[in-house]
Symmetry: C2
């Protein structure tokens, strides 16, 4: 039996909860993947579609801290902000709002599952308060941004940047 691997992100909608789940494997330790999500300079290098540049405006990666970044392309800017509800070695819980939808809030949970041999499975869960809001995210073209971001992160790992 061949074990399941997620070399490309699996993105799925929960059938009964307003949740998007993303699963992706990386050739990195949990500590490296944790650093990729908490070190602002590293995070800015990989997050989002390749065509966007990320500028960190606020970043206090501790339980109870907050964050804000702006993604831009040719002068068009997209801002995002939230709080770090909790940061543990194996789990990060944070809130997420896109400035363009200021009433929308997602509660995101990231888990870093150690697969051994220097490999880690990222489990990212995004919870919102309506199925309409969740499905609008799924239709927004988020897959390409997510996949390009994670591919860039995998390249940073290969290049030894983490």
């Amino acid at each position: 039996m061949i074990p399941t691997t997620y070399a490309v992100a699996r993105i799925e909608a929960d059938p009964t909860l307003p949740i998007i789940r993303i699963t992706r494997d990386f050739a990195a330790t949990p500590a490296q993947l944790h650093r990729a999500h908490t070190d602002p300079e590293l995070f800015a290098r990989w997050v989002g579609p390749r065509s966007l540049q990320t500028r960190i405006e606020e970043w206090d990666a501790r339980t109870g801290g907050c964050w804000r970044y702006v993604a831009s392309r040719e002068g068009v800017e997209f801002g995002f902000h939230g709080t770090f509800h909790e940061i543990r070695p194996d789990r990060i819980v944070q809130t997420f709002t896109f400035d363009g939808d200021p009433d929308g809030v997602a509660l995101e949970t990231l888990r870093f599952e150690d697969l051994g041999d220097g490999r880690t499975r990222l489990h990212a869960q995004s919870l919102v308060d309506s199925f309409e809001g969740r499905d609008a995210w799924l239709r927004s073209g988020m897959e390409s941004g997510i996949n390009e971001g994670y591919d860039t992160l995998a390249e940073l790992m290969t290049d030894g940047a983490l």
Copy 2:
């Protein structure tokens, strides 16, 4: 037709989402109700069951801030903590974790609806990531704590403490 009023909190489970909704009317302005939820000394005076004393340990009531308080009775302590994702005049979005269930996180949204004549309707929504978690909260006896807390808050308003 007699308009609906919520002199006692209505507490209801959403039929299709892992959400608890609480509705309660107060003889106060939206600004007073906002202050009751953001001023730490006021908040400590009303939140929770009457038999518990509340001690604020951390309180930074701004968008991106965090909070922590401990409720105690005869030496037994219950800690709670979270972040303020957003604080606006008519809406507060915050996260909530009970130390006794450290993996559980609720995303809470409070809205202050101005009913006119110095009356305001509080709409509190609590979103979690499973129906089991939501229903465990409903079975925990939360109603008495919520009703006693809001009754105390209403008394503070009558006494002119806000």
